[in-house]
Symmetry: C2
Subunit: 322 residues, 2 copies
């Protein structure tokens, strides 16, 4: 037999799973909605179901899959196999034994790490990051996660570096509120949660938009990346305006990053960036270029791993732990 | 004889000079206004005069001073001994042979480098920076210069890192204009030129302020750090408001820096920070702390070198070149 590994990316909106060979090839995948916040106790079983489906998709012998890695939002205790304090999963307990719970469903070893660190690790070794010795990887989902890579290594500073999502793009008191409790963070403008709150406020104030009709029609309880993409493509003015603001805010924070650290490139990933695609990448790159002081502007690329960076990184973690 | 070195910091507002022993002790100093923009051809002679005065202040044998270093704003060609494109010296030529001109006055070798790099080098080796393996050094003067030090070394990225002054603190279209031609850069709020432009606009719009009376009374053509300090201390409401805004803007950009890079500390220097002193440092540190996501907030310290970081770094450069 040739061993394979499952990697799971537990997001605030969806759970993405891949099965990856020991050589790094993606053999199969699955994606399903994260249970609603009233049903968070279903998360371990939902992850197990997604792993089973990805194994079926991979068409491999299930016994070949010898380990599972999970990328979790918030603060992860790798040794204990627990995580908590995830702003993208409201009502999640402070410390939940996810590794043990999923392992009891799947009868295989399960290891956890922070979702963004795993996504960045995947970019360093197998994604677009190989082109850039130093880069910022930015993942747009419910929030804005990121990792700063300097000379090929994730830079951690005192342990908390890479919180690009909380770079300030508007220091005035009337700036948009962020889920961190502050105002003016780029995440408030370019993360789905902040964009949805702004859309809700505009709709409540009388702006016409099909965003929430699409949400209810799809039986979702939040605006997914796909809803944003379809609304922008369909010409919904509010969706277009909020996505344009997201690109401008990202451009400002990326410009600040380039002016301060002068990285070789920027990699855009995460469900929202992947769904909005090339048009959005161009808008972000253009907004960033306006802010860069140096005569040469570093490239902004969409990740080659699509919206699977986190899941691939989690599978890499499982392989390392094996 | 024991050799000594002169270091000159050529700023947009003043020229600061030190004479430093081979062991690094500051033996003497001089400070005088930078010639007005209509008299920039007087800069080499003014620098030579300042070096002579610093040698007199040092009470050393003039022949002991065997080399001179000059920190210049803008883009420096160290090999050619030229510099240009300095936004803090309007009307300065694109490439001026400053090293040769000053050397012809002083009959000693003259070396140039970028003023901010020299100030950061001084902080790394002899200033507050020794306490921090990784830090941001920020120098508030006519503009906002900075250097990012990671693990004890100046981080240059692709060659242009450290442009903290052009981190974006307000991405909205009505943000304050910056001398770089963009809007919303922290330099527009926390550099003397941006603060003076905002004060002028407010005064033109009818706000009462003593700032410009002090300037004319002192026969200056711009608002110096000392004028800002005296106006704030004297209770001038506009000066207090603009300095408070500078602290808030710096707090936002420093918070962004800490969230992204998670440095061990911040060192504040430059004439404006040194003149405004401890009260201003506290306001900046407090505004930064509000923005930092990590539970532990890195310290913000005033440089131990006062407003001589750049001059000391320039003398170190002369010693290295000797």
């Amino acid at each position: 037999m040739s061993p394979a590994y499952a990697g799971v990316d537990l997001g605030g909106t969806s759970i993405a799973t891949v099965v990856v060979s020991a050589g790094g090839t993606i053999m199969g995948a699955d994606r399903r909605p994260t249970p609603r916040r009233s049903q968070l106790d279903e998360v371990p079983a939902t992850i197990a179901g997604s792993v089973h489906a990805a194994i079926v998709d991979a068409a491999c012998d299930p016994t070949d899959v010898v380990g599972i890695g999970i990328g979790c939002p918030g603060q992860v205790d790798r040794t204990a196999g627990t995580f908590g304090n995830a702003s993208t999963l409201p009502d999640w307990p402070d410390s939940f034994p996810l590794a043990a719970e999923v392992s009891s469903h799947l009868s295989r070893p399960v290891v956890l790490d922070n979702d963004v660190r795993l996504a960045v690790a995947a970019e360093i070794s197998s994604g677009s990051g190989r082109a850039f010795p130093s880069f910022l990887g930015v993942f747009l989902g419910t929030g804005v996660g990121a990792g700063l890579v300097l000379d090929g290594e994730l830079w951690l500073g005192r342990g908390n570096a890479g919180e690009f999502g909380h770079m300030v793009v508007d220091f005035e008191v009337d700036a948009r509120p962020c889920s961190c409790g502050r105002t003016g963070c780029v995440q408030a403008y370019a993360g789905r949660a902040g964009m949805e709150a702004a859309a809700r406020a505009a709709a409540d104030a009388g702006r016409t938009t099909a965003l929430f009709d699409l949400m209810e029609f799809g039986d979702r309880d939040r605006l997914t990346s796909s809803i944003w993409e379809r609304s922008v493509r369909g010409g919904d003015p509010l969706a277009q305006e909020l996505v344009a603001t997201a690109a401008r805010a990202l451009g400002a924070a990326l410009g600040s990053t380039v002016n301060l650290v002068d990285v070789d490139g920027v990699i855009l990933g995460g469900g929202l960036a992947v769904a909005l695609g090339e048009t959005f990448r161009e808008a972000v790159a253009s907004a960033m270029a306006e802010r860069v002081l140096a005569s040469s502007v570093p490239p902004v690329r969409l990740t080659a791993l699509g919206d699977l960076s986190g899941a691939v990184g989690a599978a890499m973690l499982a392989a390392q732990a094996d």
